[in-house]
Symmetry: C2
Subunit: 709 residues, 2 copies
C-alpha cells in the first residue's frame, strides 16, 4: 500500500481540496510498513517497525542541586517503541496514532499557511512519564543551535570521545567545562562546580540542520538532544511532549529568521550603548569617578559606567559579595544620585545590577517573606538556597503580586533613580522540589524561569516608557527569552585562553545562540572567573585579545572579574593606551554596528554570524565569524601568536580587504595574515557601503604592540 | 485468585507428589495481579504490573579498548516491561511465561534436591538483544560480592554521590580508580587509564544479600549489577540470559560455602609457599642470588625467589619491558638452571612469570602465528593489541591445538625447568571484535577468557602431576576461575595509602572475593604502580604497613613495583631488619595458616573473612577482617598513626587478646589500641587452639619502630 497525503494549505482557501504546485507544506508518504513526513522533499520524520518515530517510557529522574550546579540522575525502566501506527488525514492535518499494545499516543500534524509544521500531542494512554522522538538524520549532516553551547558549534561533531548528547537544563555553566583540564578537575573536587561540555545558562531545545530544516521543541520539560546516532537524531523529553515545530528553508539564514518569527526578536539597542565602552567598575562613588576621569584622560569613549556593587557589599566567609538587597547603598556609594545626574549630563549612563534572588535577612527579603512572595519548599517554608556562601531565596515569579512588587523594586530603585540599565543576572537555580504560587513544582517551571525573569525586566522597562533606552542584559535563557530580553551576555568565562571556558568560548556561545534565533550577545572583556590560587589570572594579552574582538561585536563592556586585584585591568598601567585605542575603534564602527543590529530586530538575522550562515558550504566552525554581512573576523585566542590562518569564503564580484593593511584577497583561499596584538584578522567586503568607516580603524590600530611592548 | 505452588523436591523421590515439612525448595505465590518467588520465606523475585520481573530491549553497545581499559558505550533504544504473565507448574518446576504483546520470554524455575533454584530461559520471541531481571530488595539491605571489588564492600552503600552500579566486564583495574584524585585524573588525561570505582580484573555476576540469599548469574555476557534502587536490585545482561542461581541460607557463611559448591573451590596451597617470604626480585642470576643471600643474612625465611624477568627484557619506548616470549633467557639469567637446582636443595623455589600474550616478533609469536594459533581480527589477520608500548597477540584459547601447544610451552619451559610456580598474569584484554577459533566473537568470550587462562594453567599443572606443589597466581578472573586457579592476587595497587587503589584496597578486593566464593588471595607487599614523575613512590612506612598486614594472610610476597629504583624495597637499608622480623612472624603462623587455608578447599570458607561472615550483625566494612576464625586484624593504612580504633565483635565464652600486649578485652566494644609500625591491631580469640603460636609473635614484634626510626 502506498498512500500519499499532500497538503497545500496555503492554496486551500482558494482551491479547496485540489492539488496545486505552490504552497506545499508537508507530505506524508505511507508504504504500509512505515511512513515518512517531509516538507519540500526534505525528509524530517521517519517511522519504521525497527526505528519508530516515537518511544515512551517510565523511570525516575533526580536533579540534586548545589549553587546552581545540577547533577542529573536519570533512570529509565521502560522504553516502549510505539511501532504500530495508523494515519488519518483530512484537508488540514494528519493524526498519527502510534501504539504498542495498550500504550498509545495520538499526534496531530498540522501546518497553517506559511507557518511551521506543528506536531502536537492530542491524547495518549497517559501511562508513561517520558518520551523520545526521532528525527531523520543523514551521513555528514551537521547540527547547529541548542541555545548557547560553549564547547561545540556543530553539535553532531563525531569526535573520538563522543559528546553528542546535549541535556537541556538551565544551570550554572561551570568552571572550566572540560573534564580533561586541571581547572575543571579542581573545581569539581572542591565544589562540584566544574561543569561539562554541555552545561549552559541558556539551553534551548531547537536546532538547525545542514539539510536545511529546523526542529524546535516548544516546552519547558527537561530534555536531551542526542546527535550521536547515524540514522536519526533523538529528542528526549521528560514527561509528555507538548509540541514540536518543524520547517525547511532554502538556506540557513531563512531558517534562523523563521525561528525568530515565533521565538521572538530582540528590540533594537539604543545608540548610546553602541557609541563607546561600558566600563565595569566598582568600589564606591569616588573610585567610579576616578576611573571615569582616568578613562577620559586616555581618550576612551565611555558609554556607561557599570557598577555591580551599587547595593553595597556584605562580608561573607571567603570574601565580600554584592549585597543582594536591591537598593542604593549610600554608605558604599555616597552621593551616587548627584553623580548619576552629572554623568548623564556628560553623556554617560550609569548601569547597575540585579538578580531574581534576595539575600536572607536583607530588607527586601524580609518584606518579600512577610508578603509570601518567596518560592516555597515542600513543607511550605521559604526555600533557602545558596550561591557558594551567600544564602538567598527566589522571588516567586509565578505569583502576580510578587511579580508586580519586584517590577516596582526595579522601577523605583533603578529606573527612577536614573540608571541606564543593568545586568539582570542569574535565573538558573530554581530547584525541582520548589512549590510555586501557580501550583507548579520547580521541575515544571525550572527551564521557564529565565523567561519569566526576562519578562519581568522587559515589562518594567516598557511600563516605564523606557524601551529602546534602558538596556538590561542576561546570561540565563530558554526558548522565548528573545521575546523579552534586550541583550544577552555570555556569562562567566575563565580568564584564560582555554577551550570550553576561556574567552574564546564566547564565540561558540554567541554563534550557537545565533543559530538558535538569538542575535544580540556580548561578553565580559577579558573573562571573569579568576582563581589566583591556581594561577588562573588575567594577563594583559588576554585582556587586549578579548577587547580587540569586542570591537567587532555589538557591545564593548569590561568586567574586573571576581578577583579584581589579581587581574590585569584596562586601567592597569600597561594596557590603558592600547585599550583606549580599541575602544575608539569600537566607536568608529557605530554606523555599521547600528545597521547590523537593526537586522537582528527587523529580520532576525544575528549580529555575529557563523560564516556558513552567509556562505553555505564553508566549513561550519566557531573559529571565525561575520559581524554583520561585511566584516569577517578571526579573533586570535592563542598566546604569543603573531599571525593566523584565515579561510576566506568564496565570493563573486568582490574581494576581501584586510582591514589593517588594505590588501585585497580573492575569496576561496586560505591565507596567513599578520595578527599582532591589536590587529585580529579582520577583512571587509570590497563592495561594502561602510568601507570608509572600516578604513578609519587602520589609523587607530598602529603601534598597539609597541605600547604594551 | 491465589495460587501457591510448593515444591518439596528433596522428598520427591521418596514421597512422590505429597507435601511435607522438610526439603521445601521454592515457593511461588500468585495473587492474579503478580507473583512472588521465595525460598524459605525469603522473598527473592517479585512480579507486578508496575515492577515486572523481566524487561527486554534493544540497543547498541560498544566496547572501545586501549591497553586493557574499556570505555563502554551503551545505548538502549527499547526496554519493554514484560508485564503480562502466566505460570504453569508441575511437580518439579514452574514455567513463567512473561510477555508484552508479541514479545515474550519463557523462564523455567527449577530446583533439584539441595541445589540452588535455577532460573533459566526456555525460549523467547528472540526479538531483543538485552535483558533486565529484578530481584526484590528491602530497605537497609546490604549486598556483598560482585567478584573482586576494590572500592566498596557493601555494594549497596548509599553514599551521596551514588555509585551503586557495577558493570561486570573483565578489564584493567586502572590507576587510582577514583575520579576525585589527582592520580586518576592524570592517568585519564595521559592515557585514559585512570579506572573507576568499579573497574576490576575480576568481576563476577554474583552477590550475597544481608537478607540471607545469594544470586549468581551463570553466563559470560556483559552485565551490570545495579543496587541503586529502593525496592529492587536490577541485573542487566547484554543478550538473552542463560541462567540464574538463587539460594537462601541460615547465615552468610552457609551462603558463601554454597556458592563455592558450584563455582568451584581452590585446591590447598602447598606448605612450602606458606613457610616464608616470596621475594620478588629481578635483574639476572647474580642479582637474584645476591638478594637471597642478603635476605638470609637478616634471617628472612625465604620460601621462594620470584623472577618476573626470567624470559629477558626488551627495550621499548619509555623503558624496558619483560620479554613476552616465554623461554629462559640465558643471556639475562646465565646459569639459571643450576641456580634453580641449588636453591631447591636449599629449600627455596624459584617462581617465574607468564601471560597469555606473545610479543610480536618473538619466537613463540612467530611459531604461533605460523600455526594459526593467535586470535584473529575481523579480516582474518592476527589481532595485534598493545599494552602501552608493547605490541602483542593473544593465544587463541578456544583452539584446542593452540591450547595444548601453550600448555606444552609452560610444561617444557617452566615446570620441567624446575620452577615452583608463576604469576599467570593478564587475561583481560580480549577485544570484542576478535574472531575466535570456536566461532565466537571476542564479545561472547571476553569475560570467559580468564577462566580459560586459569584452566590452561591448571591442566598443565595437573598433567605434570604437580597439583599441590606448583602454585600459579592470577589477578584476572570471572565465575569459575576458582575451579582452576591455585591462588589469586589483587593486581596492581598504587604505592600509596589512597582509597580505591592504594594498598588498603587489597582488603576490599580480598573481602569482596571472599563473598564471591574465592577464598585465597594475596597482594604485592607495598603495592606496585609507581609514578615517580607525580611523586607516587613507595615509602618505608607503606612497605612495612603492607608487610605487617601480609603476616596475617595466606602469602607473603613482595614486588619491586614498576619503577624499582624509585621505591623503598625490603632490601633498602632502612627496612630490611623490620621486614625480616615481619617475615619471621609470618613463618611463625604456619600451622594456623595451614588450618585456615584447608578450610578454603574443604568447606569453601575464605581465609580472609569479612567480620560479618563470622559475627553477623557486626557492621559490614572492609576496614578490618578475620584471618581464619581466630585472628581479628585491623591494618593501619593511614600515615603517621600510632593508635587505632577497633570494633571488637561481641563474643560468648571467650575474650579478645591483643596479640602484642597480651591484654584481654571483652567483645562488643570499640577500643583504641596502640598500633606503632610493626604492630597492626591484631587480636586473637582467647579460646584459640593456636594461642601459643600467636604469643610467639610478640617476641618478634618489639623494636620495629626503633629500627626504622
Amino acid at each position: 500500500m502506498t498512500r500519499s497525503v499532500q497538503q497545500y494549505l496555503y492554496l486551500l482557501v482558494l482551491l479547496g481540496n485540489s492539488v496545486g504546485t505552490c504552497g506545499l507544506l508537508f507530505n506524508v508518504t505511507d508504504n504500509g510498513q512505515g511512513f515518512v513526513v517531509s516538507i519540500n522533499n526534505i525528509q524530517l520524520l521517519e517511522h519504521t517497525k525497527s526505528s519508530p518515530l516515537l518511544f515512551v517510557g517510565l523511570g525516575l529522574t533526580l536533579f540534586p542541586e548545589d549553587s546552581g550546579n545540577f547533577f542529573i540522575e536519570d533512570y529509565t525502566s521502560a522504553r516502549i517503541p510505539l511501532a504500530d501506527y495508523n494515519i488519518t488525514c483530512d484537508q488540514t492535518s494528519c493524526v498519527l496514532r502510534l501504539s504498542a499494545g495498550e500504550t498509545w499516543v495520538s499526534l496531530l500534524l498540522k501546518s497553517e499557511r506559511s507557518q511551521p509544521l506543528v506536531l502536537s500531542i492530542q491524547d495518549s494512554s497517559h501511562d508513561f512519564d517520558r518520551t523520545w522522538l526521532r528525527v531523520k538524520a543523514a551521513t555528514n549532516e551537521e547540527i547547529y543551535g541548542g541555545g548557547e553551547q560553549f564547547s561545540y558549534f556543530n553539535l553532531r561533531h563525531r569526535e573520538e570521545n563522543k559528546e553528542n548528547v546535549f541535556p537541556i537544563w538551565v544551570r550554572e555553566q561551570g568552571v572550566g567545562r572540560n573534564k580533561s583540564t586541571m581547572t575543571t578537575f579542581m573545581a569539581d573536587i572542591q565544589s562540584r562546580a566544574g561543569g561539562d561540555y554541555h552545561t549552559t545558562y541558556f539551553p534551548q531545545p531547537s536546532f538547525i540542520s545542514s539539510r536545511h530544516f529546523y526542529v524546535h521543541y516548544d516546552g519547558f520539560n527537561y530534555a536531551e538532544l542526542d546527535f550521536s546516532h547515524e540514522d536519526f537524531h533523538e529528542i528526549y523529553v521528560l514527561g509528555e511532549i507538548s509540541r514540536f515545530y518543524f520547517n525547511t528553508g532554502d538556506n540557513l539564514q531563512e531558517l534562523v529568521s523563521d525561528l525568530t518569527s515565533f521565538l521572538g526578536k530582540l528590540p533594537e539597542l539604543p545608540d548610546w550603548i553602541m557609541r563607546g565602552a561600558v566600563l565595569g567598575v566598582q568600589g564606591g562613588t569616588q573610585v567610579m569617578l576616578d576611573r571615569y576621569n582616568y578613562a577620559k584622560s586616555f581618550g576612551i569613549p565611555v558609554a556607561s559606567l557599570w557598577i555591580q556593587d551599587w547595593s553595597g557589599k556584605v562580608e561573607m566567609p571567603f570574601g565580600k559579595r554584592v549585597n543582594w538587597d536591591w537598593t542604593w547603598d549610600p554608605s558604599w556609594y555616597p552621593g551616587l544620585d548627584s553623580a548619576v545626574r552629572n554623568l548623564t549630563l556628560d553623556g554617560v549612563k550609569v548601569m547597575v545590577y540585579i538578580n531574581p534572588y534576595l539575600r536572607e535577612g536583607g530588607h527586601l527579603y524580609t518584606e518579600a517573606a512577610s508578603k509570601g512572595y518567596l518560592v516555597k519548599n515542600s513543607t511550605g517554608g521559604v526555600y533557602l538556597q545558596r550561591s557558594v556562601t551567600l544564602v538567598f531565596a527566589s522571588v516567586d515569579l509565578t505569583n502576580p503580586s510578587a511579580f508586580s512588587w519586584y517590577k516596582n523594586v526595579i522601577k523605583t530603585n533603578m529606573i527612577d533613580f536614573g540608571f541606564g540599565g543593568w545586568m539582570a543576572d542569574f535565573g538558573e537555580y530554581l530547584p525541582v522540589d520548589a512549590k510555586l504560587f501557580d501550583g507548579r513544582t520547580g521541575l515544571e517551571a525550572h527551564n521557564e524561569w529565565p523567561v519569566l525573569w526576562a519578562r519581568l525586566n522587559r515589562e518594567t522597562v516598557e511600563e516605564s516608557g523606557k524601551l529602546g533606552d534602558v538596556v538590561f542584559f542576561m546570561r540565563a535563557g530558554f526558548s522565548g527569552v528573545s521575546n523579552f530580553t534586550t541583550l544577552m551576555w555570555n556569562g562567566d568565562q575563565n580568564v584564560d585562553f582555554s577551550l570550553a571556558d576561556g574567552v574564546r568560548s564566547t564565540m561558540y556561545g554567541s554563534l550557537s545562540m545565533a543559530m538558535s534565533g538569538v542575535g544580540l550577545s556580548h561578553f565580559d572583556i577579558g573573562g571573569y572567573t579568576t582563581v589566583s590560587q591556581l594561577g588562573l589570572v588575567r594577563s594583559a594579552e588576554l585582556l587586549l585579545r578579548s577587547a580587540e574582538m569586542a570591537v567587532f561585536t555589538p557591545i564593548f563592556r569590561t568586567h574586573e572579574g571576581n578577583q579584581p586585584e589579581a587581574n590585569v585591568q584596562w586601567y592597569s598601567n600597561t594596557t590603558t593606551a592600547a585599550f583606549a585605542r580599541l575602544a575608539r575603534q569600537f566607536a568608529l564602527l557605530k554606523d555599521y554596528r547600528k545597521s547590523v543590529v537593526a537586522q537582528v530586530s527587523r529580520v532576525g538575522i544575528p549580529a555575529m554570524r557563523p560564516v556558513c550562515l552567509e556562505y553555505e558550504g564553508t566549513p561550519a566552525t566557531a573559529t571565525q565569524y561575520l559581524f554583520g554581512p561585511d566584516l569577517l573576523v578571526t579573533p586570535v585566542y592563542t598566546e604569543n601568536v603573531k599571525d593566523i590562518l584565515v579561510s576566506l569564503p568564496l565570493t563573486k564580484g568582490y574581494t576581501w580587504i584586510h582591514i589593517w593593511s588594505g590588501t585585497a584577497y580573492q575569496g576561496g583561499q586560505t591565507v596567513n595574515v599578520a595578527a599582532p596584538l591589536g590587529e585580529p584578522a579582520v577583512f571587509y567586503r570590497s563592495d561594502s557601503a561602510y568601507s570608509s568607516s572600516f578604513e578609519k580603524l587602520r589609523a587607530e590600530s598602529s603601534e598597539v604592540n609597541s605600547i604594551i611592548g
